[in-house]
């Protein structure tokens, strides 16, 4: 199926990507092509390096001293690991939502406004905050107390606040690292609906340990597992429907049926 993807319209493309922690090869030889304005899910057993792969897309792994990578991660045709690329710039274009909601201990308003402010946003901040909170389907719940601390919201609301915060920087891609793992089912559904709406404007890559979620909410799915060296490898990548109904690789089938059937 990869042959059918049109290269010039890729959101992110990795070439021969290997990820290391010190001497340990955590992820091996990944060639992934992410389609813009779609939701791409990364699934696989725990420890297979899903999060490491996701974090390498906006250079969040830079903060792990022992981390290094080989190969290329292309964004608009440019390798984001090239020496002349500023990781700060990369993260402005490729935002991230984390596993546990992590609002700043500031007001709801400031949580949304801060990222935009440091990135030089000069227009009407009130409008931006309202617009992104609406986009994140949070506006109606918080519009009367924007001055309240972000920490006072419920878990699901906090995670939508974190999504709004990411949107306010106006990224092209949003990386989501198991965004619903700390949430209850209702809050999870809200986030999934939100992802579906956002995918009309943004490219979303989501790491999830929840296969139903991947099946429900994503357009494309990449299945990762560990090889005999405990290094993560990408086994299969394709349209979600195909991966879940007609997997080509035996390992994918085992994983899916093992949990699904």
């Amino acid at each position: 199926m990869t042959e059918t993807l049109e290269k010039q319209h890729l959101a992110i493309e990795t070439r021969d990507m290997h990820l290391f922690y010190g001497h340990f090869r955590a992820v091996k030889d990944v060639d992934l092509q992410v389609i813009p304005q779609k939701i791409t899910a990364i699934i696989g057993p725990s420890g297979c390096g899903k999060s490491t792969v996701l974090r390498s897309f906006n250079r969040m792994n830079d903060f792990v001293p022992s981390f290094h990578m080989e190969g290329e991660v292309l964004f608009h045709g440019q390798n984001i690991y090239a020496t002349d690329v500023d990781p700060v710039m990369v993260r402005q274009r490729i935002g991230m939502v984390f596993q546990k909601p992590n609002p700043f201990p500031k007001s709801i308003y400031d949580n949304v406004a801060w990222g935009a402010r440091i990135n030089g946003f000069k227009e009407n901040m009130d409008d931006l905050v309202e617009q992104t909170l609406r986009q994140a389907a949070l506006w109606d719940e918080v519009k009367d107390d924007l001055r309240k601390s972000g920490l006072s919201l419920s878990g699901g609301q906090q995670q939508r606040l974190c999504i709004a915060r990411a949107l306010a920087v106006k990224p092209e891609i949003i990386l989501m690292d198991e965004p619903c793992s700390a949430l209850d089912p209702i809050a999870t559904l809200k986030i999934e609906d939100l992802m579906r709406e956002l995918s009309e404007q943004y490219t979303i890559i989501i790491v999830t340990h929840n296969m139903q979620q991947a099946a429900r909410a994503s357009d494309h799915t990449a299945f990762f597992t560990m090889d005999e060296d405990r290094a993560g490898i990408m086994v299969e990548y394709g349209e979600t429907n195909q991966i879940f109904t007609n997997p080509r690789d035996k390992r994918t089938e085992d994983y899916i049926t093992g949990r699904f059937g």
């Binding site: 903060f63 700060v88 993260r91 935002g95 992590n102 700043f104 201990p105 990222g115 920087v169």
Partner: protein, 319 residues
């Protein structure tokens, strides 16, 4: 006959059971109780210490305020302090204490916080594991050595910069050196607070495209603010109670002045000077030590309590 035997057996079993029950019954363990009592006494020694401090300071201070010519109002509002000739205005001593404390915090707060931010947000773990203990050596140097340092290095340095208007004993020199002494305290407490801020907050900021500085100053520092303020307050308390540096370098003799180049005696400096000589019991000099000691004790205690409250609140948020 058979019945008899059964009966006997039953009785025997019952008595065995009773024996077991008897063995399991709680017994007074005299040794254990005695030890626990002794250990409680050890813990209570600290209570006796506090009671001793409060009682002695209070008792002698009462005697001080009962002396002819001493009133609380004069004590707290007048600026001239000469107990032997009946002048009891403690403001000159308080003023000198506040001056040296101010200069100390002007050094310790920015440098301590800056160093804490560097160690927590910039330094590699290896660099931090070397730099932090070295900085803490500064905290282990006895304060009398800092007094020597103030007198032999800082004062001549100030005189070289500002000229002869700097007196040999002056509050600026003592304050600046005191700041160096307090720096490791402020640094290490602030660093603890900064390091306790969860990594997820930093990642959130980086994920939005913030630089390291923006993350450190606009996200991590505000999140650790109560811990940093606690460090600052504890630093102030340390500066107010510090004796040897001011006794050596700030000057002896009360002097109500705002000139940092002039000699002026602090509360602690006064206590050290008066008690260093041959002071006889129940004289104005002797009793005044206790009145000033009480002032010192209550003010530092207040600062310490506030600081500890802030740290506790900070811990509640993040632990």
């Amino acid at each position: 006959m058979e019945n008899q035997i059964v009966k006997q057996q039953v009785i025997r079993m019952e008595s065995a059971e009773q024996l077991v029950i008897h063995k399991l019954r709680k017994r007074p363990r005299l040794g254990e109780t005695f030890i626990q009592g002794f250990l409680f006494f050890c813990g209570a020694v600290s209570i006796f210490t506090t009671i001793g401090i409060v009682f002695e300071l209070g008792k002698e201070s009462l005697l001080f305020f009962q002396m002819p010519g001493v009133t609380l109002v004069e004590f707290l509002t007048k600026t001239e302090w000469q107990p032997t000739i009946g002048k009891f205005g403690v403001l000159s001593l308080i003023n000198a204490t506040l001056m040296t404390t101010l200069f100390a915090m002007l050094v310790a707060l920015p440098l301590g916080l800056g160093a804490a931010i560097y160690l927590s947000e910039y330094a590699t773990p290896r660099a931090r594991s070397i730099l932090k203990p070295v900085l803490e050596v500064l905290a282990g140097v006895p304060t009398v050595v800092y007094g020597f340092f103030a007198l032999t290095t800082m004062t001549p340095l100030l005189r070289a910069i500002f000229g002869e208007q700097v007196q040999v004993y002056n509050t600026l020199s003592a304050g600046l050196v005191m700041g160096i002494m307090i720096l490791p305290l402020v640094c290490s407490m602030s660093e603890d607070a900064l390091s306790a801020v969860p990594r997820s907050l930093r990642e959130a900021a980086y994920g939005l495209g913030a630089t390291r500085l923006e993350t450190a100053v606009q996200v991590v520092v505000p999140a650790a603010l109560s811990g940093i303020i606690a460090a600052f307050i504890l630093g102030v308390s340390r500066a107010v109670g510090e004796t040897m540096i001011v006794a050596l370098a700030a000057g002896s003799g009360p002097n109500f002045t705002f000139d940092p180049f002039q000699a002026a005696e602090t509360m602690t400096g006064y206590i050290a000077r008066i008690s260093g000589g041959d002071v006889s019991y129940d004289t104005p000099d002797y009793n005044s030590i206790f009145a000033i000691g009480l002032l010192l004790f209550t003010s530092t205690l207040l600062l310490n309590v506030i600081s500890r409250r802030l740290v506790a609140r900070f811990r509640e948020v993040y632990e």
